[in-house]
Amino acid sequence: MSASAPRFVPEPERYEFYSAPIHRFELERRDFFRILGAGIAVFAIASRSVSAQETAPTHGFHMEDLPEEISAWLHISEDGGVTAFTGKTEVGQNIRTSLAQSVADELRVPFGSVRMVMADTLLTPFDLGTVGSRTTPTMAPQLRRVAEAARDLLVAEAAKRWNISAEKLIAADAQVKDPASGKSISYAELARGKTLAQQIPSADPVTPPTEWTVAGQSIPKVDARDFVTGKHQYSPDLRRPGMLYGKILRPPSFGATLTSFDPAAAQAMSDVTLVRDGDFVGAVAATEREAKAALDAVHTEWKEVPQISGADLFSYLKKNAETSDDDRARTVAGSVSDGLASAAYRLDASYTVAYIAHCPLEPRAAVAEWRADGKLTVWTGSQRPFAVRDELAWALHVPESRVRVIVPDTGSAYGGKHTGDAALEAARLARAAGRPVKVVWTREEEFTWAYFRPAGLIEVKSGVMPDGSLSAWEFHNYNSGASAIETPYSVANQHVEFHPVKAPLRSGSYRGLAATANFFARESHMDSAARAAGLEPLEFRLKNLSDERLRAVFQSAAKSFGWPAKKSGAGQGFGIAGGTEKGSYVATCADVQVDQKTGSVRVVRLVTAFECGAIVNPDGLRNQVIGANIQGLGGALFEAIAFENGRILNPHFAGYRVPRFRDIPEVQAVLLDRRDIPSAGAGETPIMAVAPALGNAIFDATGTRLRSMPLAPRGLKA
């Protein structure tokens, strides 16, 4: 246990990667099989290169006597059932299904025989978190490698049994077959009575996408029936024997400290446990209502601190900018002033992006249970179970080895569930109450005490030559982040920089991180530059773009949309935008209708072309792309957190508008399947081009360039 707080850096782009561990311990086979049952087990060892990614094992591993570098493992039981283990979490991105597809594909077994055990710090390998669209590019190959090694082991077993060379045998349909004699033997039979374990390096070759059979198919979501019948238990649905309910007394504003605490009236209530620990005040009772009633009876006084309000935000960000010491935050090439001097057209504009909330429909929630021996188990919806384990260990002063975090498949996160806030609260209250405690945040708590996608100010200067080629590009992002800050367009003279700011609201990851903000500023600016140079917006982009994959998504979106389109009436406008991030490529075309009397903006149609290498599950991908477009529409047009002096002014769905049925346009996803390219993640990038495509379409419709997200919170007349 360390004395200082573990590093809870919420944005992957700012992660400090740990180096690989020094020790590797021998496998204790006995322990594996005591837990998993007899059969065949295979363990992947993370290589140094993988260690630099999120799956790096950086902390002690707590399943007894397991080596520290294991990144994934798999077990084949005596009945032929396959169980694969990963620390990744299912938050609606359908990764439980797509990872199982990769395992089934590589092991040559039917999809239905694979079960995934996920996100349990006792049972699954260490994992840094389900973040940054990394699961598909890093975890799927590792699971494939263990599956491939298991297949080899099974073939070797059959070869030994039949006394034939292994090269003559093939694995298919959960069997090892000898094509010459027609003999076959099932995996189940081969696993029977065995306690075979094998460690493999994680660099073994795996089946290329061109030969996939189970992967690449639109297999429906695993356990889907449990979701349409209400049987699936999310964290807020769980119950433990003797469980009580906890509520937390929230300060009146951010950063307020408790100066006076009088619990007398609450203490007089029966069956209530009150906790005060520093500025933390909570109550536990038999029901949530009783716990809340107890807190209502507590008298407290707080010392508040004056804070920046929304009205002053952007000038504050500019004035308080710091220089990042991270080299990744800055790209400088050529001379921007020379590039501007030689330009025929010069543009200079500022863009802003508001704070927005994730609003996962499942609020933060946790159930915490202490055992008599001092071990703690917490069930909670989080994208980072191991980080939550570390937070619990640190905050509660217990060794990590005594803390287990289990993440049930969770009611979405979108980057908003990287921390373990509700887990800490439930654990603290459960320790005081001596009983298991459930804490479920209210929507107002979720809107106030979670963290937000950072607001930002972006300043862009550009120069364009008479022929439409870019000669200069200067781009400064204040506070919102460095994701996708680099321009994909060819420009010799450029200065691109991210400036961190000590910002007023608690901020963290959000689907796509700052890429949406950077796409918005860049692609809005590119639209202005095209018009300044008298070029059609797509033509201008392609003229300055050599990346073939990005060109391909622009051209595919344009083709499916019918770009350039002909307006059918006043108030109609079309916009296009695109870019690349996290190894995938996106372009979106938008058709909007602005009501010229009321100023209301209606999105009529979105067409998004997306390419992320080889597609693992086309239907799941289509669902992600369309969902991301719809979520992106909210942040683009109307979502914004209003705040004043440490208080959130709109902490309810009534005051914070999210996309609903009436807002939904026709959305078309055009998926480019590149079987020749390894799969990239797909949960984030499809959201990124929506806002600039809409802004460009609104300009096309009205001649007004909107440079602030949200673009039209109350229509265009506000």
Binding site: V228, G230, L361, P363, S412, I626, Q631
Partner: protein, 159 residues
């Protein structure tokens, strides 16, 4: 301890001990362990807690126990019959009309209520009726499709 109130849920009778002014959602989830109805906002704004009261869709977080006590209540747990899913459930399953699926119970209950009063809703009628249900993952187009498909299969199943 107040006198128990009787609730009729999914054709079964329950004696409940919660205060009469407890929201029905809390009674369902905490006292009766019927957790298929979800807490999403507690403000009647998101629809995740939607149940049917005498066939009408209601936000159970906004209905007090004392009010619910006189009605026939249907929750997501009561739609399946003898192992057969309700056509709306089946249509959601077939269309893959979910991602995280936290909103799904409420969406299905609203869809069931709509099709009970309108056998052939137009897309704009569905949109109008479902406006109070939020899907933050943005699966609205599939939900729309699922409800249309369910309407079709229910019409075809009628003699």
């Amino acid at each position: 301890m107040p006198a128990p109130l009787e609730l009729e849920i999914n054709g079964k009778s329950y004696q409940v001990r919660s205060d009469p002014d407890t929201p029905l959602l809390d009674v369902l989830r905490e006292e009766l362990e019927l957790t298929g109805s979800k807490y999403g906002c507690g403000e009647g704004q998101c629809g995740a807690c939607t149940v049917l009261l005498d066939g009408s869709p209601r936000r159970s977080c906004q209905i007090l126990l004392s009010i619910a006590a006189g009605s026939k209540i249907t929750t997501i747990e009561g739609l399946e019959r003898d192992g057969r899913l309700h056509p709306v459930q089946q249509a959601f399953l077939d269309a893959g009309a979910f991602q995280c699926a936290y909103c799904t119970s409420g969406m299905i209950m609203s869809g069931v209520a709509l099709l009970a009063q309108n056998q052939s809703p137009t897309p704009s009628q569905i949109v109008q009726f479902m406006q109070g249900n939020i899907c933050r993952c943005g699966t609205y187009p599939r939900i729309l499709e699922a409800i249309q498909n369910a309407a079709k299969s229910m019409r075809e199943a009628r003699p």
